[in-house]
Amino acid sequence: MKTEQKPADRATGNRRKFLLGATLGSAGAVAAVVTGGGVKQVLDVAAVAPEKKVKGYHETDHIRQYYETTRI
């Protein structure tokens, strides 16, 4: 994937306001559950999602190392 960094700061303020408002009563709880580890574990191990295509062993190690850091 090419670098294409247009993060949300370029999205409208309306969008941000709407999303933060709409998730107000649940976002904190969901974040706590996700950072609790069980979710990441499933996503890392199960990998039902298509994985990033990795070209060459060097990058593979690099990415694996990165995934290691995501295990809590």
């Binding site: 294409e4 949300a8 933060l20 998730t23 009563g25 709880a29 974040a31 996503l43 990033k52 295509k53």
Partner: protein, 216 residues
């Protein structure tokens, strides 16, 4: 480091700057992918129950829908065991022969599995730099997989920057929006679902918010 700080700072060790609303979306997609991929473990059920403390006033409308569906899901997580949810998952999404409820987009889009929509999805995933994990047998249009693709697009990783909102929108509108609400309804209406009705209500409330946000 106290627990509260940990909650706020222990994240994917992501070198990219992620806007708060996008981190929230990534968290929702991560949880949904997990719940839809397989029955949650006891530890996850427990975490969901314990996290369900009131967070102060939603402002009405979609926020109320989402907050209420979350509260119901969290409460239900305390009332079931992993074994019971596992049995339900098998009954609703696996079944004997044909599953009572399909979690695959191509079924809703074409009436069959492994049809043209799946082929288009594969092409788009390849263009986005995703490849299928060869060890996984489920087709890529499984709702859990699509939720995880959204999570990955929102967060990016070491090699790739987060996908732009335009790219996220284009992926969501093409591959999820046409069928995910219908899928949630199918789960809700299934005689065999119970815990997953709460999951579906929560998922639907979130998808409706995503749909609205992508229209902005």
């Amino acid at each position: 480091m106290n627990a509260q700080v940990a909650t706020q700072t222990v994240r994917f060790d992501n070198p990219r700057h992620i806007e708060p609303e996008d981190q929230v979306r990534a968290d929702f997609y991560a949880l949904l992918a997990t719940l839809l991929y397989r029955a949650p473990e006891e530890s996850l059920l427990r975490a969901m129950l314990l996290s369900a403390e009131p967070e102060g006033g939603p402002t009405g409308g979609v926020a109320d829908d989402l907050a209420k569906s979350w509260a119901a899901l969290a409460a239900a997580s305390g009332a079931v065991s992993h074994d019971a949810v596992l049995e339900e998952y098998e009954a609703v999404f696996v079944g004997v022969g044909r599953p009572p409820v399909m979690l695959f987009g191509s079924f809703y889009l074409s009436g069959f599995m492994n049809e043209k929509p799946l082929a288009e999805l594969r092409g788009d995933l390849m263009a986005l730099g995703f490849a299928r994990n060869p060890e996984v047998t489920e087709p890529e249009d499984h709702l859990a997989a699509l939720c995880d693709v959204m999570r990955a697009m929102i967060l990016g990783d070491v090699a790739d920057a987060p996908a732009s909102i335009e790219r996220q929108r284009s992926f969501f509108v093409k591959h999820m929006q046409p069928w995910v609400l219908q899928c949630c309804d199918a789960i809700t209406q299934s005689e065999k679902s119970n815990y997953y009705r709460r999951v579906a209500a929560f998922a639907k409330a979130f998808f409706e918010i995503e749909i609205q946000a992508f229209e902005m």
